[in-house]
Amino acid sequence: MKRFLYSTYTKFIASVLFVVFVFGIATIVTDTVIEISKEDEYIYNFENEFLDSRSFQHLISAPGSVVLNAYYASANEEGEADITKVEKYIENALSDLYCNDRINYYIKWNDKTFSNCGAENAEEVPSTKIYSHEKITPDGKDFYEYSQKYGGFYLEELKQFDEAVEIEVYTAVKEEHINERNIMWTRQKDMVEEAFTGSVTLLLLAVIILIYLIAVCGKNKKGECKRSRIDHIWIEVSVAFGIGVCFLTGLIYVMLAEAVMYSGFSHSVAGTIACLLAVCASSVFLSVLLSITRNIKCKSIISSSIIAKLVVFVWHLLIELIRKMTKTIVRLKNTTVKLLSKKTSVILIGMLFVYTSLVGIFGMMTMETPFGLILGFLLFLAAAFVVGLRAMDIDEIKKGAHKIREGETAYKIPALKSDDMKLLAEDINSIGNGLEKSVSEKMKAERMKTELITNVSHDLKTPVTSIISYTELLSKIEKLPEEAKDYISVIAGKSERLKNLTEDLFDISKVQSGNDTVNLERLDIGLLVNQALGEYDNDIATSGLNFCVNVEKELFVKADGRKMSRVIGNLLSNALKYSMKNTRVFVLAMKNENEVFVEIKNISSYEMKFDPDEITDRFVRGDESRTQEGSGLGLAIAKSYTEACGGKFEIVTDGDLFKAIIKFKSV
């Protein structure tokens, strides 16, 4: 059903039907008008019967109106009618009366009587059916007698002309005329009623189709918005076109009617043209109406309307203008308030004083204030100009200072207009110069430091390589005395430590000087902790420590996997090295709302006297460990690496409890 309703074909057929219905209405109306125009007279006026019709009223009141008109025609300026003239007028008018053949009448006016049927009194008027009888007597008694609602209402007015008038009007309509008119009236009534019923039916159908079209247009069966090509025409243009076509149609109708009535233009040709015009006009009307509806439905009414666009444009312009003005005023106020200090304010007050005095003097001298006002205004302009210049300079200085502060140390404030400001600008520029110089020196130093680290580390590594190699060679000689073998093993241990120290030193220098590359990726830190535990499995098994591991699943963070493995590794190896025998080491990895954290807790085998905040600094270690293996950089590297990955690293000590906490934002 929906598919049928929204189908293009259905819509098209509906549109055609609409035009056909309008064409039908036009045809019926035109036909009826043509038919009626062929009759002698159009007498049907939507009354109940002919006797109610205006046509009948005109007949019955004709003689009375003649009398009244006679008075009007003969009255002078004071409203007094000349009796003889009236008499003459009545006589002429009655003889020319258009309906003499349809009515019989008898008029008694003072002593004179008029009749078209030779009657001497009312009773003598020949066989009549419908009549009107009214009588005015000098003693003020009026007498009406008529069988119809309308009739002698003219005579009453006559008294203003002639108070002593005695008048009697009797009118009767001939019966055969009434019969003949009754038939014609019925015929016309039938025609009009038929046409009315027909057109109203068609109109209803057309309206239903129109409602359907308005409901479905602009949407396809899926309810998507669809505009047709003509909807992209400006709405105003299509509306103007529609109105133009309708107006033109109306104009042609009027012209056709005139041509038919006065130039004897063919009824049928005019009717055909009228019907065709109705088709054109209704098509255009439908197109325009549906186009507007589609645009409203697709919410493109504004975009396809020039006026709406213009309104929106003007509105934005206005908003922007107000915004800018407010901004300018605020800025002006701010700078002005600041600048209304000392010198400028003295100048302004001085000018105000001069202005007031001048206005006063000129006012007294000439009573002509405009000159004074203009002069004062000019003075104010001059003051505003001075203030404005300073404000612009201040702005430049502000901009420059801000840029230098933001790190653009090479920025120079351009040449200024006022002298005192110029000095300030030069000072700021030279501060900028100094900054620029020190920043570039610092950068150079940083670069040199990095190079130094690389070179020193290389220069350290080469001799260490030899030491390790030769120590190993020495250790292979079997015929050395026992002491020598002990010494060799000491050298071997120390050279191993020296090796680790060199590597750790290099690593920490690199990360702390920001020369390390960090590859952040999404990884499971819980898995990483497990992997690290796996790496240390042998050491853990032989350590005599009890590792309590509680690692949750899916602890995703953004970090560098290799760096974090080093961090966890360092913490685990610390725990292995410095824990009291036969104690528990806790390794926890879990998350709360938006944080993932890893905790490694152990009981220290020695008294920790260090400051937890300092232990992560380079080379700081618990005293106990200084003589053991390791570089003392383990925690410093752990902290630096964690922070390089965007995490937090914290050491907490409580008595013999050592706790390392790593925190990351959960992702």
């Binding site: 190993e472 497990n530 949750e552 290799r562």
Partner: protein
């Protein structure tokens, strides 16, 4: 077997020479790239240990020069431990990379490994049911593993993990994946069983388990064989 040792530090060359001679290799010595190329053109050399930072002609340039007509194994030696330096060396045609300061026995092990592979090359035909990744050889039918021609004994679980990773070179397997494929079970929460197994496999197949060549840890994500 003749090995050429090249480094501008004479003591280092000397000590490496002693270790290699002790293993029965013929040792030739050079102290910069040009000398090395001279010896290469005169003598029959089976492997080179080459330092990178040297005067006259550095290790990388020497390597590129000798790779023009020789495919003998080259082990680079350097004080630079950056990943970028390693990648540069390996792409220039090196077979292995050892950073200073190194453990002499590890270096000797690496030399042996390279030479075994070099001399075996051509004798291994890649048959069906065999996976060969450089010096690592896996026979999926007899379920045996060899590294540089020497048998390695793995437990059934270790073998399954290694085969899974070797069959899907370059793919990273999470512990869940490995559990599902090897045990056909879901992961037990917070377990490091896999990590321990992987560690054991590495101890058996790698020269230096801390710097693995085959079975690599992708931290926080899983394991893979490149």
């Amino acid at each position: 077997m003749n090995i050429l040792v090249v480094d501008d530090d004479r003591e280092i060359v000397e000590s490496i020479g002693i270790f290699l001679a002790g293993e029965g290799y013929g040792v030739f010595k050079a102290y910069d790239g040009l000398e090395a190329l001279d010896i290469l053109s005169e003598k029959e050399i089976h492997l080179i240990i080459l330092d990178i930072m040297m005067p006259r002609l550095d290790g990388i340039k020497t390597l590129m020069k000798l790779r023009e007509d020789k495919n003998i194994p080259v082990i680079l030696l350097s004080a630079k431990s950056e990943d970028a330096d390693k990648i540069l060396g390996l792409t220039a045609g090196a077979d292995d990379y050892v950073t200073k300061p190194f453990n002499p026995s590890e270096l000797v092990a690496r030399v042996k490994s390279q030479l075994r592979r070099y001399t075996m090359l051509g004798s291994i035909v890649n048959k069906k049911g065999e996976i060969v990744i450089e010096g690592l050889y896996i026979n999926t039918e007899s379920k045996t593993v060899k590294v540089d021609g020497e048998d390695v004994r793995l437990t059934p679980i270790e073998y399954k993990i290694l085969e899974l990773l070797a069959k899907n070179r370059g793919k990273v397997f999470s512990t869940e994946d490995i559990y599902q494929k090897v045990w056909q079970e879901e992961t037990v929460v917070g377990d490091n069983t896999i990590a321990v197994h992987v560690r054991h496999i590495r101890e058996k197949i790698e020269i230096n388990p801390k710097v693995p060549k085959y079975l690599k840890v992708v931290w926080g994500i899983g394991y893979k064989i490149d």
